[in-house]
């Protein structure tokens, strides 16, 4: 892709130069002509269609991966906000049918580690079944529970606990 572009550009630049020199040679030299390179500035090649699409994918992908869903303490049900986020994720997964994802279920560190491993799985599974209900193929979604083992915040405050009670979407 890159290579082709370079060749394309090179031809754009070289051909007018060649043409210029040829025409100059035929004429008698009367006055200095502006450097041919400066002459008709070659229009930049139109960006390929795939490039635009790739950019859009990158943006949507990072949104998909960065937009977590959040849960209440000791709960795995999806509130309105989590459902709205999941609907966006379903759109993304429908647009890009080759994308496979893993949903990570996480918990805050109150409670105990073993129960939180179970809770993390229930959180990830409840997000998965919501997406499956929206028509995403189950085989494209796997789940893993990290319980309270991977906190993003370690203070003992509700604000921090809330950040940790999350579902994270990773593209495989």
């Amino acid at each position: 892709m890159r290579k082709k572009l370079w060749i394309f550009l090179a031809l754009f630049l070289v051909i007018p130069v060649l043409l210029g020199t040829v025409s100059c040679a035929k004429k008698t030299v009367t006055k200095e002509e502006p450097a041919p390179v400066m002459a008709p500035a070659p229009a930049p090649p139109p960006p390929p269609v795939e490039d635009k699409a790739a950019k859009a994918f990158d943006m949507e992908k990072s949104e998909f991966q960065n937009d977590n869903i959040y849960f209440a303490f000791d709960k795995s049900n999806l509130d309105d906000m989590a459902q709205a986020t999941l609907k966006k994720k379903a759109e993304f997964l429908k647009t890009y049918p080759n994308v496979y994802t893993t949903i990570e279920g996480h918990c805050d560190d109150r409670g105990t580690p073993e129960y939180n491993l179970a809770l993390g799985e229930r959180r990830a599974e409840s997000a998965k079944s919501f997406l499956v209900d929206l028509g995403i193929e189950a085989y494209r979604i796997s789940t893993v529970s990290y319980g309270e083992e991977r906190p993003v915040c370690t203070e003992q405050t509700e604000a921090c606990w809330a950040k940790n009670r999350r579902g994270v979407f990773v593209i495989n």
Partner: protein
């Protein structure tokens, strides 16, 4: 992969000789470990005497004295009388019945007396150890041991086991070990230390998250949860040797717990969609499903007779502890106070279950007796206290606590007394699991 503390295996070379015919002693009920109000017995342990005039390293005498004092003190059964109070007569070693003036000991309040003598010849040692009842002036135990200087700790721990058997009717805990989780390396790995926190050695080196170690009831295997396969699976690993089997079904494979007296394991698995407790062979093959409920069922812990199993379920909406009769399948709820009761640990004496209950946003250790069903709070106002695990005789509970900041392993008596830190290591420690008696000494 597995390291063992050195001297234990050499115990085979230690000869034990009973000193003199055993004194005629009846049933000595000095200590009732099931009594929450039992008094600590005042005990004196004078410094070990050198039994040969030269060749015995004074540092070895001090080491031996420290080992026996710290080990017996660890049990919580004794009140160690300060050595400064001893009425010692200068001169020859005073370690035998005929040499001891028992009034010197009863005067300072001592009811039990332990004497030790040691003679060293190069790398070989002879150790004499005796236990006396100072009130009756009778020798309750007398032993002579022979070994190398490296055997001093195992020899003394062996004698301590005899002392506890003599006074309580049950073997001591001195040959037990504690497995726990430590993240000092940057990853959570399983470690093993001696009963008193000494000699911690890594058991796993997976470089990922490893959790929930559980000793088999013969002490030969440890099952644990690990993310080696990037998801929680159960590895069952021989404690001495490299034999290992894995339980890596789809979903979670967590909370391994062995069935007492059997090479059988129970664990929570979700491959069938629901989080249920299954029974597995020690080699990881599923035998059958034990629980059957839409909710999460996890953290099995077995009664010593293996007829009942305690576990955690959130079938009422929040986690509570339940007991299932294995034969009939009947389930009854055990805990009713609090909205978050987890981590049941059935006492080896069978009559109590320790567990963790959320109080405010923190956790505390409780026990509940199975007859009266009364919860008893053992920790309070001291950070997060979690993961209770009983010593093999049921007299002590190991647990983790954040009372000093980072999570560390602590030990207390079965009724919450004498709470102290077990060991200090880099990183944080959690999830202690006490081994059965390993019958090494």
């Amino acid at each position: 992969m597995i390291k063992r503390s050195g001297p234990t295996l050499r115990m085979a070379t230690v000869f034990v000789i009973l000193l003199l015919p055993a004194a005629v002693f009846g049933q000595y009920d000095y200590i009732d470990i099931s009594n929450p109000f039992s008094r600590k017995i005042p005990m004196a342990i004078p410094a070990f005497a050198a039994l040969n005039s030269d060749g015995t390293d004074p540092a070895l005498l001090k080491k031996a004295t420290d080992i026996i004092t710290n080990s017996l003190d660890f049990t919580g059964f004794f009140n160690m009388i300060d050595r400064g109070a001893y009425l010692l007569e200068p001169g020859n070693p005073v370690i035998t019945t005929d040499q001891i003036n028992f009034r010197n000991w009863t005067t300072i309040g001592s009811e039990l007396l332990v004497t030790g003598g040691l003679s060293q010849t190069g790398s070989l040692v002879d150790i004499e150890l005796r236990l006396f009842d100072t009130l009756t002036g009778k020798r309750l135990l007398g032993k002579r041991y022979h070994g190398t200087v490296n055997d001093v700790r195992p020899i003394i721990l062996r004698f301590c086991n005899e002392v506890i058997l003599q006074l309580t009717g049950k073997r001591g805990i001195f040959d037990s070990k504690i497995a726990f989780v430590s993240n000092g390396s940057g990853n959570k790995e399983i470690f093993i230390c001696d009963f008193d926190g000494s000699n911690p050695v890594p058991f796993t080196r997976h470089g990922t998250i490893s959790l929930s170690p559980a000793w088999s009831s013969d002490g030969k295997w440890i099952a644990y949860t690990t993310y080696v396969n990037k998801k929680p699976d159960i590895f069952i690993h021989r404690t001495e040797g490299s034999e290992q089997v894995t339980v890596e079904e789809k979903g979670i494979n967590i909370t391994p717990s062995w069935v007492p007296g059997q090479f059988t394991l129970s664990a929570t698995m979700s491959f069938a969609g629901n989080q249920e407790i299954y029974l597995l062979t020690g080699s990881g093959k599923i035998i059958k499903k034990i629980t059957n409920n839409w909710a999460s069922d996890l953290s099995p812990s077995w009664a010593p007779d293996a007829k009942l199993m305690a576990f955690v379920s959130n079938r009422t909406g929040a986690p509570q502890i339940y007991i299932q009769d294995i034969k009939t399948g009947q389930v009854e709820r055990l805990t009713f106070e609090g909205n978050y009761n987890t981590q049941p640990s059935w006492s080896p004496t069978g009559d109590r279950i320790a567990y963790t209950s959320m109080v405010g946003s923190r956790n505390d250790i409780f026990t509940i007796d199975l007859k009266r069903r009364q919860p008893l709070q053992l920790t309070q106002e001291t950070g997060n206290n979690e993961s209770p695990s009983w010593s093999p005789d049921g007299s002590l509970i190991a647990f983790s606590s954040t009372r000093e900041g980072p999570s560390r392993i602590y030990v207390m008596t079965a009724f919450g007394a004498d709470q102290r830190r077990l060991l200090t290591m880099s990183g944080e420690q959690s999830s202690p699991n006490w081994s059965p008696n390993l019958n090494k000494y």
